[in-house]
Symmetry: C2
Subunit: 328 residues, 2 copies
DNA sequence: AATAGAGCTGAAAAGGTTTTCAGTTTTCTG
DNA sequence: CAGAAAACTGAAAACCTTTTCAGCTCTATT
């Protein structure tokens, strides 16, 4: 049986309450404090977090619900979230939904049972749509994706703007037929699609878009098809890092080079995008900022629950590389 | 105030014990069971995991302690661990140590306070060395790295063999001066270094090795130096994915091409290694397998604690690509 | 028909901590 | 130096479950 606060109390000749107070750094006479501290050291006492949480009603745990930690965007995000969490003396429970609404509701239920302090959450469009019907008893901050307009704290990229920037960039380089390959599950992909479409229309260009499950394999399949079409576009935009990876893979299979055979641009400034060929033009997201902002919003929400929901919108940054150079 | 098991009991006209039994799927008369179930539905009851854990002494939580989730090896590993965990109805608490022994001990302590069911752990060499002096009251399975020989369950790659394979491969392609760039914190890097050195000696080649903090930035700096030396080697081996990334980046900065200017080979078959230039030769690790094996070992250890420690050693697979072709 | 056993249920204890409450000691104020 | 306030401490309640124990109702066996 492991040593509890009671054993420490006996060893130090004080009451359990006093030990608890020493642990919580509350006022207790130096002499007693010292006795307790050595007792703790001697007994090797470690607090039982379950008991502590049960009594204090603070779980000191935050949930992080993302589609897939292997998506580099979410990898980096998770790291930022964890750093902030552990600084605030909180644990992080990580959940991968695979963009599957069933798993999402299961995890949200789990968060409830865990009595988490708060949740950072990148929902699918499907679940996001009914987000205000669900009523969580913990604060939620959406990241990367938004819910019903203005109802929830969220931190997202200005996706329309970012897409428009890519179109503008490609257009200014002389490309006219610009196709887009977008994810089919997130509000983010949808926003990027809108931004793309608007920007194309603004320039009297004809948008053409495809939607695909947001993972590299599915993207490879789709890209293969697009790239081998007779009316292959002059330029192709990929709506996130995994899709971009799929496109790059398809191009390699087909022996195509950017920008000679087709121009390429995408999202997420992963290191490899700078190394592949002579570099792929991308929109860089301030991922770590997004994570930190989300945690800040979460903590502030916890402090003042009645505050009106806030949306933090950050801007992407165009990183021009060779894949979008004017051909020939 | 949230609804507890008591409220459900009252609503169903039974005792809390009965509700608990319904929840745990123990024998209770169908009629009562149904009454309880509708009461649960009506009240929207969610069990309180802290209370449950406190009483039952089962945390159903496993800890995952890794250097950095952004290292793609550990990203994939974490995903495998989580999948297995959630299938077994367990949560995962994720910890990044940044190869920092202080953070390691802090997290190990946390695991103790959390009363975790078990831990999957990739220790630094420093902590690994004193692993048998520490006495955990939870089972630990080491991954990717080993502790004092044969004292702990662990799942690792046959690192010596893998390194030797790379040397053999490069040598058979005609390279003689083969340098190695290794991480400086893990037993794994050390083993890969040993394998490299032995294989070089076996072939009467002179080994030359450098050690560096296992992250891309540090590797870039080191690689830059190696690559701009007058006596630059004919081939360079990188001991993990991040270091390989650093090497690739340095080469690009310096305008060097593989295999024309220098041959390159490394570890971890990340997708980009197949896309960069005309592909980088790597040793592929069965990462998902490693994760699953680790979880299997962990569960078996929990079931039969007195079993002798087991070491599972998996083989890497050489993926030959263009970066190690015989130069022009 | 009596008895053993199985199945089912509820009361109450237990799990390890924090927190409240009340009481005691110390310090401060005038 | 008296009295008030502040600081400190311990006993006991509370947090929400699961589990033990004992009792009760059936069924099955002899």
């Amino acid at each position: 049986m492991s040593v509890g606060i009671k054993d420490v109390a006996i060893a130090a000749g004080v009451s359990p309450a006093t030990v608890s107070r020493v642990l919580a750094n509350r006022h207790v006479k130096p002499e007693l404090r010292e006795r307790v501290e050595t007792a703790i050291r001697l007994t090797g006492y470690r607090p039982n977090l379950s008991a502590r949480r049960l009594r204090s009603q603070h779980s000191n745990t935050i949930g992080l619900i993302v589609p897939d930690i292997r998506n580099p965007f979410f990898t980096t995000l998770s790291r930022a979230v964890e750093d902030a969490a552990y600084k605030a003396n909180m644990r992080v429970v990580l959940c991968n939904t695979d963009e599957n609404p069933t798993r999402e509701t299961m995890y949200l239920r789990l968060m409830q049972e865990e009595r988490v302090t708060g949740v950072i959450y990148a929902p699918t469009r499907e679940t996001a749509a009914q987000l205000d019907r669900l009523n969580f008893d913990f604060p939620v901050v959406l990241v990367d994706r938004h819910g019903p307009a203005g109802k929830h704290d969220s931190v997202i990229l200005d996706n329309r703007q970012a897409s428009a920037t890519l179109v503008e960039h490609l257009h200014s380089r002389g490309f006219k037929s610009i196709e887009g390959l977008f994810g089919n599950t997130s509000s983010t992909a949808r926003d990027r699609f809108s931004g793309y479409t608007e920007a194309m229309n603004d320039r009297a260009l004809t948008p053409r878009a495809d939607f695909v499950a947001p993972n590299a394999d599915a993207a490879t399949v789709a890209a293969r098809q697009i790239l081998s079409r007779k009316d292959r576009p002059e330029a192709l935009i990929a709506s996130n890092g995994l899709i971009l990876l799929g496109v790059a893979q398809a191009m390699q299979e087909l022996g195509l080079q950017a920008p000679d055979d087709i121009a390429i641009a995408g999202f997420d400034n992963e290191i490899w995008t700078g190394l592949i060929g002579s570099g792929i033009t991308v929109i860089e997201q301030p991922v770590a900022d997004i994570g930190h902002s989300a945690m800040r919003l979460l903590f502030e929400r916890i402090e003042t629950p009645e505050m009106a929901p806030r949306v933090v919108m950050l801007s992407g940054k165009l990183i021009e590389r060779n894949s979008s150079k004017r051909p020939g």
